[in-house]
Symmetry: C2
Subunit: 409 residues, 2 copies
């Protein structure tokens, strides 16, 4: 029987060192958000295929692992289709299951409801270095709060987590979907052109202003493109200019209050930066959007925004919502690259026991171990090997600083 040793394509086994780090980070995240009033919840990794394909997921809907129907419901003896043979699939994010969860349980939950989810999601992306087909996401959402207190608290909580993990000097870029829209409309673009315009603006980091201009001019008349790009100059970025302030007032955006309050309150080491070119991909955002940039890491290590219209698609009743997704896998990768040491237990002791002891000889050894363990010390007990030197080296490599030997009487 030839069993396969490797994990399925694009997924990975997690070795003890990385797992210790992940467990530590997850504990720190849970503890920190709990301090901000967030409750942990969980949804199944398997989700209705209708929900997964309901156009909330954009690109990700093409990457779903579909689960085969079972028993009589499945008929493969005739030509058929994917839709006919599947009724569920693996979730590709945590936002869609959260919307379903909230619509199912709203009456049992406080309002506003502050939810923390840490769980695996699945995307059949082309496997590449550091990107896997199963990976952990960490989402924080405030449901049912129309006020921008939610945005402020999400930013303060998330930056507190990063600070506790020894990340400093990062930037939170912030924008508002309403500002993004207003600027494009002011330049003369039509409502139905906005999606495409924003896709081009979103490429700014990669192609620069010249590239953006070129791509816009391929599709739109020069007058509107000129007007549009001039507006970005006028509005500026970084500090909120008088022009920007005016437009924020016009569209009713609370960006200024969010930036000011965070700046006056933050305990972590980061800066807030108004960025009128920030788009973020997901089309469901309706208000403030934000993204964490870290110099150490080229891209974003987290982001989110307000999406006041998504949950209503389940409930039929509009529910304001704002969420943040932390790039859990990226943060783990950065911490590993940096050699981050998980704060350890108070001590690690190894007992090496000679072979073939009877119960009366073993009992006092195990008793000693149990006493140390009760005092918070890790004690590993194993049989002495022939190559004791190698065995001790292995134990030392695992962090055992105290190695005790026990011999037969």
């Amino acid at each position: 029987m030839a069993l396969k040793k490797k994990p399925v394509n694009g997924m990975k086994d997690i070795l003890p060192d990385e797992m210790a780090l992940r467990t530590y980070v997850i504990g720190l995240i849970r503890g920190t958000y709990a301090g901000f009033g967030f409750s942990s919840i969980e949804t199944p990794v398997v989700e209705h295929i209708e929900n997964l394909l309901s156009k909330q997921g954009g690109e990700n809907e093409t990457l779903i692992f579909k689960v085969l129907k079972r028993g009589k419901k499945l008929d493969l003896t005739k030509p058929t289709t994917e839709d006919a043979v599947t009724d569920s699939g693996l979730r590709y994010d945590l936002t869609l299951p959260l919307s379903r969860y909230y619509s199912n349980h709203a009456s049992e939950l406080p309002s506003p409801f502050k939810a923390l989810q840490i769980g695996n999601v699945f995307r059949a992306d082309r496997p590449q270095r550091g990107r896997y087909r199963q990976f952990t996401q960490c989402d924080i959402d405030v449901l049912g709060d129309p006020s921008y207190l939610a945005e402020i608290d999400l930013i303060l909580a998330t930056t507190t987590v990063l600070s506790k993990l020894d990340f400093h000097n990062f930037t939170i870029r912030i924008n508002d979907r309403r500002l993004l829209k207003e600027m494009a409309l002011k330049a003369g673009f039509a409502e139905e052109e906005l999606g495409e315009v924003f896709i081009i603006i979103d490429k700014l980091d990669k192609i620069g202003w010249d590239g953006v201009r070129a791509e816009l001019e391929e599709k739109y008349d020069k007058v509107r493109v000129d007007a549009y790009l001039a507006l970005f100059e006028e509005i500026g970025s970084g500090e909120v200019t008088e022009n920007a302030r005016q437009m924020m007032e016009e569209v009713g955006s609370p960006l200024l209050a969010i930036i000011d309050t965070v700046n006056q309150t933050k305990t972590a080491d980061f800066s807030m930066k108004y960025d009128p070119t920030l788009v973020r991909g997901m089309s469901y955002y309706t208000g403030p959007i934000f993204e964490i940039s870290m110099d150490e890491y080229g891209g974003s290590v987290g982001g989110g925004g307000r999406y006041d219209e998504m949950i209503g698609k389940f409930t039929g009743q509009q529910t304001p919502a704002v969420g943040f997704s932390i790039g859990f896998e990226r943060i783990i990768m950065l911490l590993m690259e940096r050699g981050f040491q998980v704060p350890g237990t108070s001590g690690k002791t190894a007992f090496l026991v000679e072979k073939k002891m009877d119960a009366d000889e073993l009992a006092p050894i195990f008793q000693k171990a149990m006493k140390l363990r009760a005092g918070g010390i890790c004690v590993d007990i194993s049989v002495m090997k022939k190559n004791k030197k190698f065995q001790k080296q292995q134990l030392t490599d695992q962090g055992y600083t105290d190695i005790q030997e026990f011999f037969n009487r």
Copy 2:
């Protein structure tokens, strides 16, 4: 668009109270086993279909959720079969993925390797009260240790976990597959009859000795059945009799040393009981087997045993192994029924803020919150509602003991 609000059939959403309990129990399990030298690891929930169907899983192999192949690999336009359209599935236990993991990574792991896995498994069982199609398993295994130190440590660690969760006065029933086999062979049964004989013995709890006798006599001659049942009388159960001791020596079973050492060492409140009728279902066990019985709960809340031959099926190289599986979902259910209180944070404070404050008014409120949070106190900030009385009641129900109000200047 009609999205589905309920989870997929047989799976469940986890609400905040249960989630807080689960998170607490998982933390306690990880911390306790770490103190015994166990490392946490993780494998993907998706596994190769060939591995899942390799006859390690018994019954469970009929309950697999299969994952559809993707892209060009999938052809549904012609009549086809399940095997042709699937290449992976959701794992139904943690033992099979552990064997694959160990065979893939043995050279990077210490020997013996003590592994802790907590993860979701999937079985398309008929849904019923308290049994779900996605549920969490908690497995602890010692790989590469032929000595019974492994059994002792597994029992001590697991009972320490249960004791910390305030479970007392439970029983660990222990037997050895070699004793079970020896007794049946002594009574005259043939090697190839043993599987069926054990299935009948395994029903003892449900049908009693009379039932066992009747079922055995249906299939086998009375002489052998008489001899077999007389042997159980002779051997006795509970205390290890002289007859039992002799047979343990004959087959080289370390049960006595395990029982004695555990009895002299244990810090939790439980008793060890030799039970010559203990079978445990899985056919892969080769040595000592054990099961935790709790009066509060009819059945078993965990069990395990030695399975020295399974990992060799992946590696081609025999690797001694012994494992324990804790009935995580049952333990959570028992704790919830009992109203177990998760040891809380040091305090929960709610700030109610009047609507429409500007940044200068909000900043000192958020600053105050951040100071309290840094001191380990949970602070929830939300906007004051019209029905403040109801809002305060909701917060009190969530455990907020201190509610402070902040008004506009």
